[in-house]
């Protein structure tokens, strides 16, 4: 045997603990959601029938989708613009190098994180309850969602700007607002536009499903057809939505690439 030192033992508490956790978590989850292949097989007969019904898509239904689809786009535009404007102060105050003080920074940071914990459809449900069913609820929900997306990304990129310009503005006797306006925003503008376009892509995607909880757009039609098990129409809607989302994403992505 060659003179090699013995292989050091693994950190068994860590390894064993990790593996035990993974196994326990998976067992608990699989058990909890009723993960069973028998169920999958037993139900597959009905499922196959449904899938057969959902093809071919009902193309005659297509003209009736135009108005709700446009509404979806309106919701996405309003949500992106309102959220985009409101996210500017939220992001700036959450950037460590630009904020007004540790207390404001801390509060704003947590505000941002809490906004981020709730999914878009939760906001949609809340606004639908508060202001009534319809596109306005959807636009408000997406505004909040947009603030969460843009301010998180933009505050991080603002933290990495070159502080020479902002400090120079301050040194010349400029106010905090002037420092932000002339020293910080010009450097962060390109990123902001790029994040806003990204948020718009997410919003178009999200606005398709807002209607499931009554917040306007094409999702409302999707919900009624789904509830009536008109699956050839459901397929038609989903296909149309996917094509539209992909087209809008392509356009937005090409603008973003040109800006970068």
């Amino acid at each position: 045997m060659a003179m090699v030192p013995p292989k050091p033992a693994r950190n068994w508490p860590l390894w064993g603990g990790t593996i035990a956790f993974l196994v326990a978590m998976s067992w608990w989850s699989a058990h909890g959601i009723g993960f069973s292949l028998t169920e999958l097989l037993c139900n597959s007969a009905g499922g196959t029938r449904l899938l057969q019904e959902s093809w071919p898509p009902d193309f005659a239904f297509l003209p009736r989708l135009i108005d709700p689809f446009m509404e979806t786009i309106y919701i996405a535009i309003v949500g992106t613009v309102v959220g985009g404007i409101l996210s500017i102060p939220v992001a700036i105050l959450a950037a460590r190098n630009l904020t007004l003080g540790p207390i404001i920074w801390f509060a704003d940071r947590n505000f941002m994180n809490i906004l981020r914990t709730l999914p878009d459809l939760f906001w949609a449900m809340l606004f639908a309850t508060a202001v009534g069913f319809g596109p306005v609820a959807g636009a408000l929900a997406l505004s909040v969602f947009t603030i969460a997306v843009i301010s998180k990304l933009w505050s991080e990129s603002l933290e990495s700007i070159d502080m020479g310009m902002p400090e120079a503005v301050r040194a010349c006797g400029g106010t905090w607002l002037q420092m932000v306006q002339f020293g910080a925003i010009p450097q962060g503008l390109q990123h902001y536009v790029s994040y806003a376009l990204y948020a718009f892509e997410l919003n178009v995607r999200a606005s398709m499903v807002l209607g499931l909880v009554g917040a306007g757009g094409i999702g409302m039609i999707l919900e009624t057809q789904r509830a009536n098990f008109e699956y050839e129409r459901v397929t038609m809607i989903i296909l149309a939505v996917l094509v539209a989302v992909l087209i809008i994403e392509q356009i937005s992505e090409s603008i973003r690439k040109r800006l970068a």
Binding site: M1, A2, M3, V4, P5, K7, P8
Partner: protein, 266 residues
């Protein structure tokens, strides 16, 4: 880990390599290397040193001609036959090419991959014999105490020793060393070159080393081969090579960039 001296011969017959962009990497090369020889290949950059080395284990493919290892032609397409040839040919790289996140031992065991059944290698179930071979390889380059350390934590010289151990673990008939010291400092350079010479003497493994530095070639080479634009322009003993020969190989006077130790230039 013994190697009988009848293995490890290489023969180039009318071998040509032209790259897709038109560059000539090897031009009508006829060359015979006997088992157990220690051959240093010199030439300025772009002269085709790497091309020659990488053709021996099929990393570069011939445009025409033939290379034989122990009388068997080097296969010119991917597949089992090429893998069987590569199993017998160890390679050492300028940039070491270790998997930095794996331990030294795992890196050396990579040299045993072609020797064990695929499923064993897949699940990291190494037979005792192969682990023993890997440990002996580490012992031969003198870094056994680093066996269980991650490769990323070693110095350049230590990493190259792991690279040598990986090649040795193949129990090869031939070792190809492509600029093995180009990324190392002068002191480590001499240590690594001495290791290579020692391994060649002790195990009789045919060794081909690409070197940029002339003084190293003269000091450690047994036989020197000079290349220029892919063509063989010198082939002779290291003991008798003259400065004029080097000038001819390089096609110019040599400068301090061409030697490791500047005092060598008169």
């Amino acid at each position: 880990m013994s190697n009988n001296n009848s293995q490890g011969s290489i023969r180039f017959t009318g071998a040509n390599i032209v790259y897709p962009n038109g560059t000539v990497g090897m031009k009508d090369l006829n060359l015979e290397i006997k088992p157990g020889e220690f051959v240093v290949i010199v030439g300025s950059s772009g002269a085709g040193k790497s091309t020659l080395l990488r053709a021996v284990n099929g990393l570069n493919r011939l445009t025409s001609g033939q290379i034989e290892v122990d009388g068997v032609a080097v296969p010119q397409k991917d597949g089992r036959e090429l893998r069987l040839l590569r199993k017998r040919v160890g390679m050492i790289f300028q940039d070491f090419r270790l998997v930095k996140r794996l331990t030294v031992m795992s890196n050396v065991l990579i040299g045993r991959l072609a020797h064990v059944p695929g499923w064993r290698a897949m699940f990291n179930l190494w037979p005792a014999h192969d682990k023993e071979v890997a440990m002996k390889a580490l012992e031969r380059v003198g870094i056994t105490e680093k066996a269980w350390i991650k490769a990323s934590q070693l110095s350049g010289g230590q990493q190259q020793r792991v690279g040598i151990a990986r090649a040795l673990a193949q129990e090869p008939a031939i070792i190809l060393a492509d600029e093995p010291v180009a990324s190392l400092d002068p002191v480590t350079t001499h240590q690594i070159m001495q290791d290579l010479v020692r391994i060649n003497r002790e195990l009789g493994i045919t060794t081909l080393v690409n070197l940029h530095f002339l003084d190293l070639a003269r000091k450690y080479g047994q036989r020197i081969i000079g290349l220029r634009f892919g063509e063989l322009v010198y082939d002779g003993s290291a003991a008798t090579v003259t400065d004029d020969d080097f000038r001819n190989i390089y096609g110019r006077d040599f400068t301090e960039d061409d030697v490791l130790d500047e005092d060598v230039i008169d």
